[in-house]
């Protein structure tokens, strides 16, 4: 299924309703956070270190569960998603983290083929998807290289290829340019824009304000676990929501 087909539904891609996340009784990572990301949007999540950006992404990826509130991603209330359904939910997403993980002993192509073989795809399909993903990030000519033979920027592009190889409807990225210089950072962001143009919703957490300004996409800002006042006004309509099944 292509992203265009997967995004055929009209509901927003991400909906957060008064989401709170506590780590212990005195540490509120997120407090009453509500906002919506429409399908096909490119949205930046920003805020200072410790604002709760990574926690929010982990919630969207169902790596953590909210303490209260509801999170609906691609029409599924992931707070009530049974554990056994989580892997299938994750197959509709792509994730890029700052600490991009690649398997050092496998070539770039093998890295991409490996994750697909886990999902049970045929070898022909693995090859087709891996080649397409690498072509989209401009690394198809280096598919037989080991990660250690690539530069930092190339490794991050490979991580992005890994994230998009399953043709996700939503791409989540947590500080994807954190370790890169400004030129490479912009290159990576352009790549995200290209992915977004093809129909994938992109949600990027970053504290690089200059980069956000240059890209000119919608911004959601977190401060000490709360949505910033200005963003809250925009998100008022998303405050109340009916309960949705997983």
């Amino acid at each position: 299924m292509t992203p265009e087909e997967q995004t055929a539904g009209g509901a927003p891609m991400i909906q957060l309703f008064r989401v709170c996340k506590d780590f212990g009784p005195f540490r509120h990572a997120l407090w009453e956070v509500s906002f919506t990301v429409e399908r096909g949007e490119f949205v930046f999540l920003t805020g200072p270190s410790g604002a709760g950006k990574s926690t929010l992404l982990k919630l969207l990826f169902r790596e953590e569960l909210p303490t209260s509130g509801q999170i609906v991603v691609n029409g599924r209330n992931i707070g009530v998603l049974p554990d056994g359904q989580v892997p299938y939910f994750r197959r509709t997403l792509g994730v890029v983290f700052q600490d991009f993980k690649l398997i050092g002993r496998k070539t770039i192509y093998e890295n991409l083929a490996f994750v697909q073989s886990v999902l049970g795809l045929s070898r022909a399909e693995q090859k087709r998807r891996a080649y397409q993903a690498l072509k989209r990030v401009g690394l198809h000519h280096r598919m037989n290289s080991l990660p250690s033979e690539l530069s930092g920027g190339e490794q991050q592009r490979t991580a992005i290829a890994l994230a998009i190889v399953n043709e996700p409807v939503l791409l989540l990225a947590d500080e994807p340019t954190g370790n890169l210089d400004p030129v490479l950072s912009e290159e990576i962001m352009k790549l995200f824009s290209e992915i977004n143009i093809r129909g994938t919703t992109v949600f990027v957490a970053t504290h690089d304000v200059d980069l956000i300004r240059r890209m000119g996409h919608r911004v959601v800002t977190l401060e000490k676990g709360k949505l910033r006042e200005r963003d809250m006004v925009r998100e008022t309509l998303a405050q109340e929501a009916p309960f949705l099944p997983g």
């Binding site: 892997p87 939910f89 197959r91 994730v95 993980k101 398997i103 050092g104 490996f114 049970g120």
Partner: protein, 292 residues
């Protein structure tokens, strides 16, 4: 999840920590070699014990020219005797052949009958314990009787000894199997640590827990299978080595009973139990560590 992924990853896990894989296989092999050795000993000794399943209380060895029936009639007159059995030379040879098929053919090549005729005396349950000895002592002076021995006590001790050996083998086997399971468990835990990044990637990409764990299960299964097979090979080498040494330098007792390797089901049980132990070890490890 396809078989190529499953076997490919299981092999990759083995290759990623070859030293630990080798140590785990060696530990499993040792864990199964020791009880296997007990099984081998008790099997061979058990054949001796088995041949005396209904032990005679006393055995009278006759001269070749003796009238076996008249000696038998004389013994049977004793009110403490329940049964008297005449075992001729041919019957004794046949018994030996059944118990020791490897040696029976060699004995058949001899020109004369290797076993003298004997009379086996069984006592009534009400007979006192000293009766066997008294009958044997009395029979020694009868014409045609070469020697007479009371056997019951020895046979009982022998069977008890074999039983003890089997029990010790089972106990040690159980203990060492637990040790094997724990060693596989720690080897799998180490492999999990070495493959942490891959597991993280797999989880992010939506791999199910079964897909993540299955290569580790398979790896441990084969580790156990290999350990069991190595134990079997070592046991066979031990058996052949001992057989070779005994053929070069025969021992009056050892040469008699060291004649057979483990039967097929017991031999196959070693790698099979090894594989199960490996699998259990991986289950133990994965239930604790896979989500870490």
């Amino acid at each position: 999840m396809n078989s190529r992924y499953l076997f490919g990853e299981a092999w990759a896990i083995a290759k990623s920590g070859p030293r630990h894989t080798a140590i785990a296989v060696a530990l499993i092999a040792l864990a199964f070699y020791v009880p296997g050795l007990f099984a081998l000993l008790s099997r061979n000794l058990g054949r001796l014990a088995g041949s005396a399943r209904e032990p005679a209380a006393a055995i009278l060895t006759l001269d070749a020219s003796a009238d076996a029936h008249s000696v038998a009639d004389r013994v049977a007159q004793d009110p403490r005797v329940a049964k008297v059995t005449i075992v001729g030379s041919a019957a004794a040879l046949e018994r030996f052949r059944r118990a020791y098929p490897d040696l029976g053919s060699a004995i058949a090549d001899l020109g004369e009958a290797p076993f003298p005729p004997t009379i086996e005396v069984s006592l009534k349950p009400s007979a006192p314990s000293r009766a066997a000895r008294e009958i044997a002592v009395a029979a020694r002076s009868w014409p045609g009787v070469d020697s007479a021995e009371s056997e019951e006590e020895f046979a009982k001790k022998f069977r008890d000894g074999v039983r003890l050996l089997r029990g010790a083998g089972l106990f040690l086997g159980g203990l060492l199997t637990v040790a094997a399971i724990l060693s596989v468990s720690s080897a799998v835990r180490l492999a999990l640590d070495l493959h942490r990044d891959e597991i993280a990637i797999m989880r992010r990409m939506g791999a199910t827990e079964t897909a993540i764990r299955a290569p580790f299960w398979l790896h441990a299964f084969f580790e156990g299978l290999a350990g069991g097979a190595v134990a079997l090979a070592l046991l066979y080498a031990t058996y052949r080595g001992a057989a070779y040494l005994l053929s070069r330098d025969p021992h009056p007792v050892l040469s008699l009973f060291w004649v057979g390797f483990l039967d097929l089901p017991t031999a196959l049980a070693l790698p099979a139990v090894g594989a199960v132990a490996g699998f259990l070890g991986s289950l133990l490890s994965l239930s604790k560590s896979a989500r870490a």
